[in-house]
Amino acid sequence: MINPDEDHVAIVDYGMGNLFSVKQACEHVGIRAVITADRDIIDASVALILPGVGAFRDAMGCLERMDLILPVKEFISSGKPFMGICLGLQLLMSESEEFGINKGLNIIGGRVKRFPNYFNNDKVRVPHIGWDRISMANNFVAGDSVLHNIRDGEFMYFVHSYFVIPQEKELVITYTDYCGIRYCSAIRKNNLVAFQFHPEKSGPSGLQVFRNFKEVIYKEVKNG
């Protein structure tokens, strides 16, 4: 029997990005989190977070070298709650255009694409760094999901040069507009959610996402 008060959430440490902030955000809302690259610890976790900042190809390389691809894939198919953040969203896709075509984890069909340099004759500053709105997709009802109590149009913090284009539009739960380019900023598929923005850096609204994630974990543990 899993005890949500004692058991941990694993944050995958594959050498990319500010994991400390993700851990702090978890702990701030009362989620016990461990930063780890250990397969057994990942398997034993009640939920998994895949963060990441940096280059797609390097990240896939690190995951592969550290034998983490299979544990992450198996965790996702186990049905336990999973959260991807930023590069942790992009890595789920089948492939990325970053430095030629590179294969991803292929959990979500679709592609990772770079922002163009210009859009409608306006300069598109890349990387996209800053606070932008997330708009709920038409068919998405926040309900008791990870976006519970997050209002349509809430501001979140983004840092990225690439964005995802999933093949199945039904998986998209929020869109964001940058320089007139409307792109997918969050997806959900069964037990999996992933954000292009950084909830751990998005102030009170971002912390609300972690609170919701905690509720999702509790529910899952109770039902499981």
């Binding site: 990005g17 500010n18 400390f20 902030s21 702090q24 955000a25 701030h28 900042v53 940096g54 280059a55 340099n117 306006d122 300069k123 598109v124 500053r125 890349v126 990387p127 760094i129 800053g130 606070w131 932008d132 501001f155 913090y157 840092v159 990225h160 040069s161 320089c179 007139g180 950084h198 751990e200 850096k201 998005s202 102030g203 009170p204 609204s205 971002g206 912390l207």
Partner: protein, 287 residues
Amino acid sequence: MQRNVRVIARLDIKGPNLVKGIHMEGLRVLGSPQQFARHYYEAGADELIYIDVVASLYNRNSLHEFIAKTAREIFVPLTVGGGLRSIDDIRDVLLAGADKVSLNTAVLKNPKIISEAAQKFGSSTIIVAIEAIKQPGGDYFAYTDNGREFTGVEVLSWARKVEQLGAGEIMITSVDREGTGRGYDIELTKMITDAVSIPVIAHGGAGKVEHIREVALNTEVSAVALSSILHYDYIKNCEEESYNSTEGNHDFIKSGNTFKIIQPANLTAIKTFLSISNINCRPVTLS
């Protein structure tokens, strides 16, 4: 084109103290940086920047403990600068909990650090700070060590070069305006935003909310970095409400010329003013 302008609180830190200078010199002690940082986070700052202002003199950044403390209680992006000389220095502050680093002296001496750091930690992690002083001929040149050391590097070509090397952002400081409250150097800021395609942060000279509007409307800046406007407002409120008083020498703020020029404002007032001026920004959400 509509963009959301970030409002960044910049804290210049010397040892255990928050300080503020004029033309980046003549530092005065304002209080405990931790207290100011927490206040700005709760008041709705979009980002924080910590600069260790004496680190360059000693070749080391001494903010690690402070960064770790910040990362535990503040959930907006944190940039750290001052005295970062090598890839290892950068890694250390990132591991302590910073999201980005601001580099100046080290990359002017060895520009290759930009590409190396961008490759290792991601472009968006690397801000290059450019401290510019206008020359009698009208050209701007880059300085280091808070505007003390002339480098002979012309600012426009340097901005293009740092973008090419992989910097994720540029923070452009007008040393001539810094701490004076006379407004941002629009000519300098526009020159940089027009020349590059990465985000640019304007710094140096904001003395009232109108200055922020001016730079946001007349240039394509992605963000503004503020210090005096915010610091003086917070100190004024702390003293008026006579609770949780900050330590430091505040008499100069009330008596000196600086106070007459700077019109303090809090983040809610700043963002409300920007919104009614049709400049988009993230509204203040109180935690």
